[in-house]
Every structure is written in C-alpha cells, then in structure tokens.
C-alpha cells in the first residue's frame, strides 16, 4: 500500500478545484516559473545540447541499471555506509522504522523527498510514536495543514500567505497574538526559528536523493534553503530514500544533469546547495552523521524497464512539465489525487498504482505538447499519455459515454464516403443555423462547453472538401 489515491475521483477533484476561488488565486503564482526557465535556457548556449546529453546519460544508465546499481552499492559499502533494498512501499517503511527504532530515535527531521510521500513515510513514523518534521519551508507548511504537496518542487504553491499565518498561529502556541506575521519575510523568520530547534534536537535525518553516483557511492541532494543539509549533518544517522532509477555513472554525468535540472525547475543557473554525501562521518571529521543508510525503492519501476513507459524513468523531477501545463495551471496539483501531478504524474501514476486507479489522468491533457518541449530529458509525455488512453479504452475502463462517443466517431471514420457526406451535411446545417451571429452561445447537450465560450459557426463546407477544392490532389 502506498500513499492513498483520490485519483479515481479525478473529475470531481477537478470540479472542486475550478470552483475554489482561494486556490485559483494562489495558482497565479505557479505561472512565474515559465518565464524564468525560458530566461535561464536562453542564457546558456549549450542548453539544448545538454538536454540531449542528459537524455543519453539516462538512457545509457537505464540500459545498464543492474550493473550500475551493483557498482553503486559496492562503493557505498566501501565508504562505511549501508544499502537496503525495498520492493514496495511497505518494505521501505519497515526498513526505515526498524532503523529508527534501533537508533532509539524519538524525532526525525526530513529533507524534501517525493519518494517519502510515495511510501507514506510520515504517517508510519507518527504511528510508531516518532515525531517527523518536514524542514523544507513549503513541506513544513503543508505538514501543518495535514495536506500533501501540490507541486513536486513548490509543494505549498496552492497556499496563500494568509493561510500560512493562520497555520503558524495555530501550531506555534507560544506566538504572541500581536506579533506581525503578515508578510512572507516574517513568516520565514518564524519558521526558521522553530525549525532550527528541531534540526538541533533530531536523532535521525531523512533525505531523498536527486542522483546516486555509482563511481563514488555518493547521494546528491539539491536545495535552496539548506534544510536538506541541516537534516543530514546534525543527527546521529542519515537515511537516504531513493528509487532505483536515480543512479548515474559518474560525477561528470551528475554535472550534466544538474546543469539542466535547476534551469528547468526554478530557472536558476544552479541551486544554492548541491550536496554530495558519501558514507558516514570519517575518523577525523568533527561533524556529520555517525551512520549512513540508503534505502533503494523499486515500487513498480523495474517492471517499466524495457516497456512502453521506460522513457518515464528518465524523469529528474524538475517540475517543468507541470509549470508549463495548461491543465495543471487551471486545477493545481491536488486534483490529480496522488503523489505526482501534472503531465509526469499523468504518465507515472498509472504505471505505479495501476491504470484502473490512475487511468483518468492521461485524459487530462490538451496534447498541446508544451511538456515535451520543455522536458530536460525529452520524455515524450503526450505520446505516453496517448498510450495510456489506448490501454484504458482497451480494458474498457473509460466511462460509457466516452466509449459510445468514440464508437460513433469510429463508425463514421471507417467509412470515408459516409464520413464526408455526414460532416458536409453538419457543416452546412451549422453554417445555416449560425448565419446571424457567426457563433453559438449554447448548443444542446454541450452546455458544459458553451458555458465558458462560444462555438464559432463553421464555414459553408468542411476542411476536407475545401482542401480538395484547393489542391485537387487529396484522395
């Protein structure tokens, strides 16, 4: 069992999101990402070549994944660390809980990790009586709210500063009521003070990993706040949780990927802190964790190799696809109902939790193609969503109305003469009916569509017949 999905209720989620004025107000901020990414890409002449390089590194590593994981494991062990393997979420939770219990841990600080969300780690820690504190500012805010991240790199993008002030006043009991918390600056100062004490008191620090380097047995994390570093250097033990596809061959390969990661994510040339961690504290080290563990999670990924969705394993979790997605921009991340939102979530979710649960997500695309245009590792996201739609249809999981509509269309599409005749007829009829205004404000059975816009009345004839008339060459 992984994090609970509301994905099967996608349609209801979307409806709620679109009518939620507070959410719609907050989502405006998500649009800032696109301009920043474009500027960062334009500033680096080698950016497109780096995307090709990043893609090639990922493809090469995936094709040799067993061997790179072996090499990585060997180097971690050599440096005094421990590697644990987990086939699924439950196994990963058990390993981490056992490690924490063995260390007598009462409190755990956490760097931002989507894998941790995927395995529902916080709930498991709390159930075991261990305090789990998210330390990324956005993650901390949503943890106080009892929510899940709505974006993979900006988890609290759906929350306004007013909301944060209320959350802090509720959670931080010793806050004087007259203390000014109206602006982000004061909210950050408050969070910094509260979390600093948590960092210093924690027994175990848990982080994710952006990359695992086979050459050196190193885990790499990228943050802007420095929270991931305070999480891993202060407690007695550092536990890394990472999925199998995070491994890369060498430090040079990590550098290629880092060059596209920050630019694609926040539009920075480099994130503030890129940290390479190898094993536990050395004999002469005056600080750092005494124990270093890596939990490597499969959770369905090994089955994606060699199949139609293998390309998805190239993903480096930058969030560019959702930042550029008109659907994500309209509904936010929670509507997707599981851990990963946006186009990458629409492809990955059915792979990891099944098409029966997650099959609706690939329908949430206009196929505008912006996600693939900006993906730093060039994942063909629209194609893969199309692939999922076919599978959903083949397995008769799509709603009856959709199936009936597609069936009706297929009947005509397979009979070209009939199709031309029928569409010609409809075009003429609509042209006549819409003669007055040239558009329709309402159409029977399509009220949901015309509520937000008018349908332009067609020209007298169809595109096909106009094309035929113009070129005379199309059969």
């Amino acid at each position: 069992m992984t994090a609970v999905a509301t994905t099967p209720h996608f349609k209801e989620n979307v409806h709620d999101a679109l009518t939620d004025a507070r959410l719609q107000g907050a989502l405006v901020h998500a649009r800032n990402f696109t301009g920043r990414r474009a500027a960062a890409a334009a500033r680096l002449p080698e950016f497109e070549a780096l995307r090709d390089s990043a893609r090639a590194i990922k493809d090469h590593t995936l094709a040799h994944l067993d061997l790179y994981l072996e090499a990585y494991e060997l180097k971690v062990t050599e440096s005094g660390g421990h590697v644990h393997y987990a086939e699924d979420a439950e196994a990963a939770r058990t390993i981490i809980l056992d490690l924490c219990r063995g260390l007598g841990a009462r409190s755990v600080t956490k760097g931002k990790s989507m894998i941790s969300e995927e395995i529902g780690l916080n709930q498991a820690l709390e159930a075991a009586g261990i305090e789990a504190v998210e330390t990324d500012l956005g993650e901390y805010i949503i943890q106080l709210r009892g929510e899940t991240p709505s974006h993979i790199i900006a988890p609290a993008i759906h929350v306004s500063k007013r909301d944060v002030e209320q959350d802090f006043r509720k959670a931080h009991r010793d806050l004087p009521p007259d203390r000014d918390l109206s602006e982000p600056e004061q909210l950050l100062a408050e969070a910094r003070a509260v979390l600093r004490a948590k960092f210093l008191a924690a027994d175990v620090g848990i982080t994710g990993a952006n990359f695992l380097v086979a050459e050196t047995g190193t885990s790499v994390i990228v943050t802007n706040e420095g929270n991931g570093d305070l999480t891993q250097i202060l407690p007695r033990a550092h536990i890394v949780i990472a999925s199998i596809e995070k491994v890369v061959p060498t430090l040079e390969d990590a550098a290629q990927l880092l060059r596209v990661l920050a630019r694609s994510a926040t539009g920075q040339d480099a994130s503030v802190y890129t940290t390479f961690s190898t094993g536990p504290r050395r004999p002469d080290d005056p600080d750092g964790p005494a124990e270093y563990h890596v939990v490597i999670l499969d959770n369905g990924r090994s089955s994606m190799l060699g199949g139609a969705f293998e390309d998805m394993l190239r993903c480096i979790r930058c969030g560019a696809c959702m930042n550029h997605c008109p659907v994500y921009q309209a509904v936010g991340g929670h509507a997707y109902g599981w851990v990963y939102p946006g186009p990458m979530g629409a492809v990955l979710t059915p792979s990891l939790i099944g098409v029966a649960e997650g099959g609706q997500l690939p329908n949430a695309s206009t196929f505008c193609g912006r996600c693939e245009e900006v993906c730093p590792v060039r994942i063909p996201l629209p194609n893969m969503m199309r692939h999922w739609r076919e599978r959903e249809f083949e397995r008769a999981l799509s709603p009856a109305t959709v199936r009936a509509g597609l069936g009706l269309w297929a009947f005509f599409a397979r009979r070209p003469t009939l199709y031309r005749f029928a569409t010609d007829l409809v075009a003429r009829a609509l042209h006549l009916a819409g003669r007055g205004k040239g558009r329709f404000a309402s159409i029977p059975l399509a009220g949901g569509w015309t509520r937000y816009r008018d349908l332009a009345a067609p020209e007298r004839t169809t595109f096909q017949s106009q094309w035929r008339a113009k070129s005379g060459a199309v059969k």
């Binding site: 901020h29 706040e225 570093d229 430090l251 503030v272 750092g288 089955s303």
Partner: protein
C-alpha cells in the same frame, strides 16, 4: 528470494539480460573509469583573470558578495571589514585549516574560536577547495579543516578561496577532488554552494536566509 535479489532479477527480466554479459560489464567499467565530460559550457572557460571575472559576476548574480585581496595575509582584515559593515559581532568560528590558521588574525579585533558549530555561532570562515567560474559556485569539503556545520548554521558565512583555485567548470573541480581523494574516492561531504540560503515557498516571494546563512561573502585571495 530477498528483496535485493528480487529487484535485480526483475530489472534483468525487463531488460532481457542476465547481468553476466561481458560487453555490458566492460561498457559500465569503462564509463566509470573514463568518466567522459559530456557538454561543458564555454561560459566559465578562459585564462585565470577571465575565470575570476566570470566567477565574481556569477557569484554576485546569486546574491553573494565578493571581495578581492592581494594575498591570503590580507584576508583577516577583509573579514573584519565585512563583519564591521554588516554590524555583526566581532567573533569568528573556523576549522583547523592550516592555511587559515597561519593568517595574521591577531592584527584584527576579531575573536577567533575553533571547531564545528553547535548552532550558536553568528559568523564562520571557511577555505574552499575551489571556486567554479561557470556559476559562481564554491566547492567546500568536509573534515577537521573546514567542518560542514560551519557552512550552514552561522548567519554569515565567509569563504576564502585562492585565486589559483578558481576553475572553469564542475569537471575541473571534480579533477581537484580526485587529486585529493583519488579516483572513485570522495570526502564525506562535498558542498557546492551558489549564493546564500533562500526560499520562495510562500507565494513565490524570494527571500534570503531560509535555514542556512543569510549572507555569503567570498574573499578571493591572490
């Protein structure tokens, strides 16, 4: 079958391989041994003065401040000036780096203490392994010389980097790392630091000083 074996078996089944193929093993060993560089941006390249100019400009873009001094011996006076101007206390925490230890701190009014940070230090001074011109990034390695806690807990982090340690790109910094730790080796922690700590998690408003240092001051010493 334990979890490790099950995962490896499933990876190999999906890839249609056994794991024993000599060509695949050779390919992987060669890639790790040769560590090909890939695409390296031109931005950081050039002779030393050009690299220093790029380093300075890029570091300032990331909201770090940068000062150049003629020699390492001038670094303490620059540290004292920076702390005076930022109205901080005249105390500094640093590790056991012999290059820092040898400097004339006694000629300043600074109160120096030595060792890692427990969270109560306002100012820290570190020595960088390298400065990376490409993105104005500092490469800092853990150890008794420069404890990692100094990079994150104090409010003001001052980093001294020697002119000749300003390299063009990440790949050159890795080469320096390997010259110290050997190929395939690494310190417990390598921190690549680009500017002071920040967050934009509340309404995408960018603020400095999230959990780490509020100010990062770089002293490039000749």
């Amino acid at each position: 079958m334990n979890a490790r074996d099950a995962i490896f078996a499933n990876i190999r089944r999906s890839l249609g391989v056994t794991g024993a193929e000599a060509t695949r093993r050779f390919e992987v060993e060669r890639r790790i041994a040769e560590a090909p560089a890939g695409v390296v941006p031109k931005r950081g390249q050039g002779d030393l003065p050009a690299r220093i100019a790029t380093f300075k400009a890029e570091a300032e873009r990331s909201q770090a401040s940068v000062a150049e001094v003629d020699s390492l011996a001038d670094a303490p006076a620059e540290v004292a000036r920076f702390l005076r101007d930022s109205n901080g206390p005249a105390t500094v925490r640093m590790g056991a780096d012999p290059r820092l230890d040898a400097l004339p701190w006694g000629e300043t009014a600074l109160e120096i203490s030595s060792g890692p940070s427990d969270g109560h230090d306002v100012n820290a001074v570190s020595m960088a392994l390298a400065g990376i011109a490409e993105t104005g990034t500092l490469a800092l390695v853990s150890g008794a010389d420069n404890p990692t806690t100094l990079n994150f807990l104090p409010d003001n982090h001052i980093v001294v980097v020697r002119r000749e340690d300003i390299v063009a790109d990440y790949e050159s910094a890795f080469a320096r790392l390997r010259s110290v730790y050997g190929k395939g080796g690494a310190p417990r922690t390598l921190n690549l630091v680009t500017g002071p700590s920040r967050s934009a998690d509340i309404e995408q408003t960018l603020l400095l000083g999230a959990h780490g240092p509020r100010r990062l001051h770089i002293v490039v010493a000749g």
